[in-house]
Symmetry: none
Subunit: 198 residues, 4 copies
DNA sequence: TATGAATGAGGTTTCATTCAT
DNA sequence: AATGAATGAAACCTCATTCAT
């Protein structure tokens, strides 16, 4: 079955961006990886940014699907926690995907407004899903600090991912997850109670 | 008093890299900001990367000094907590400095080994300082998961900083700090107890 | 009724080249406008230049037909003058057609010999027609400067058309035509007498 | 004496643009002609258009200076006419300069607004100078059609220049000038009288 | 020390043209 | 007849770095 051009380019771009040590994700490099000429790229995409957008869309959709999946389930609370633990562990290990996301972050830092907007939108959705879970599973009430709490949780995961990408975190993922599990099981419940009581 | 060349260049580089929207930190831009010619830059530095290294050194030293300062103090526990809160709040607000650090992160992701090593070294030192504080202030014992815990704490702060840089975190810094304070005051003690009991 | 491929391409090319603001008349643009693929273009034409040649032929034939039409008519002198005035006014207003002609001019300036030859041939014919009219209507005799006079007349019209294309001529076409009419009616007769007397 | 970079580039650009048969005035070609690398060009000019603007400025300033020079002189009428004839003849023969101006015209046709504005401004000034001359030398009064008349005169010259550039005008410049002289000497006076009487 | 002109490799993008289907 | 994916050369431009002065 022939794979269509856009898909090939996206796969190649993802590969190139993720490749450790890859100097830069140039159009030339993407084209080479995709096995086409640079000109061919422009047959499918108007410009380089458009490739990035598609890639981001894909990448963000994945994350969102997972977040939604967990939040929407009519599972027992224990199952939800297990689900979160598993997905988080998987994410810590998805080097390529994480590398990609930080590539986007860098683009945004360089001033790419369009990318920033897309990212912000998705981030809002994620915090919303997390909040949903905290409410359903942990009994979080509607406090003034709900959003701040979810931001800290999301931030912690992102921060640890970055540590792994930069290779400055020597802990086994299993150890990190053990602490995380303890947090979810025993740490969060009383902490959320504190917030509710405020 | 004449400021020496290297200092001028470092200040200029910091400014240029941090400048919001500055698309690229070119040698030309740094030279211009420093009020010298591009050629002059190469009198003081062998190449552009060397500027980065010095800058990273400076930047990391700052952070380390703060961490050391807090850990070494023979202060009462309350004072230490206040110190941490204040420094953390300050850091969340130091846009330029944070932007700089993520610039380094990006360079490392692109495969700059030398930078990576320096970063790793410093990161080790930070986690050590944090652990020290957790031991002195919170009575953390020598558990197998000490390092994982400190990594989560450091990661959370880095992750939230990144959220602010990317402008995807709409919470006031004050709200974020309120949750953080609650964590330090009421959340951590029982959590550390759990770890000790394991 | 099916329109044959070449015609469709010519119409499309004319449209694209003439389109105000159209930055470039690419084969792709022509193909799109013609509702076919780029490949199809090359079924009908060996290369892009050949399209231009055909287009020029068409365009020049139009002008020539008009010139011939006026010259050949066994009309009264007044009718001929009216005819000239009307056709000239029409031409000043045909933005698309004029834009096309200056596109050809540009190609010639870039060194396209073939185009140059075709153009030259047609230009000769036009000056011949104009001369014919000057002889029949104004009684111009066979002077040494006949050709120079016709060149000035043709040149004036071309120059003014260019002014309009470049949007540097703010006069109403009606004002321009009023002066032109005065020239044809009252200015040329004595001037031609002068030439005859030389 | 060392020639400064901008001058060298301008001279080279002028040469390249003017060169008959030159396929296109690319930055590479200009750099080659100037004896520098393409990168060096960008040391002096932000982009290619800026070179064009400088070139146009120069070119237009020349024309304007000539127009001003003629108009401002407190010369006798005969001297002014001689001056006009001489300058016009010179211009018909300046192939390189004329080629340059039509290159600008083409850029404007492609939609370069900035260039268009500069051109329009200068064109206004020229028509003003011509009108001045017509008033001082030929006694033209303040009629409604003054501007239209000057546009025709300017247009005629531009049109004839284009004929020469395209090599479709086989007349000797001398013959063209003879007709032009006759126009200035004998043709214009009665024609302007007609306009005044309207 | 210092300048800034110059290089050259490499970036993104455009486009006429070819060719398997 | 027709498609449209693909090529490859060449366009403009950027930038770390070198070097004569």
């Amino acid at each position: 079955m022939k794979v269509d051009g856009k898909s090939r380019i996206l796969v190649a771009a993802r590969t190139v961006i993720s490749r450790h040590g890859s100097n830069r994700a140039t159009v030339r490099a993407i084209a080479e990886e995709a096995g086409m000429s640079t000109g061919a790229i422009y047959h499918y995409y108007k410009n380089k940014d458009d490739i990035l957008y598609d890639l981001l869309d894909e990448s963000l959709s994945d994350s969102t699907r997972i977040a939604k999946g967990i939040a929407k389930q009519e599972l027992g609370k224990d199952k939800v926690k297990k689900e979160i633990l598993q997905k988080t562990e998987e994410r810590l290990k998805k080097d390529a995907e994480n590398r990609l996301q930080y590539h986007f972050a860098h683009e945004i830092l360089l001033g790419n407004k369009e990318l920033q907007l897309k990212f912000k939108q998705k981030y809002k959705e994620w915090t919303f899903r997390i909040e949903e879970i905290l409410i359903n599973v942990y009994g979080l009430e509607d406090t003034r600090l709900n959003q701040a709490l979810t931001s800290w949780l999301l931030g912690a995961i992102d921060g640890v991912i970055l540590q792994y990408l930069l290779d400055v975190n020597d802990n086994d993922v299993e150890d990190m997850m053990e602490v995380f599990e303890l947090l979810l099981e025993k740490g969060l419940p009383p902490f959320i109670q504190l917030l509710n009581d405020k």
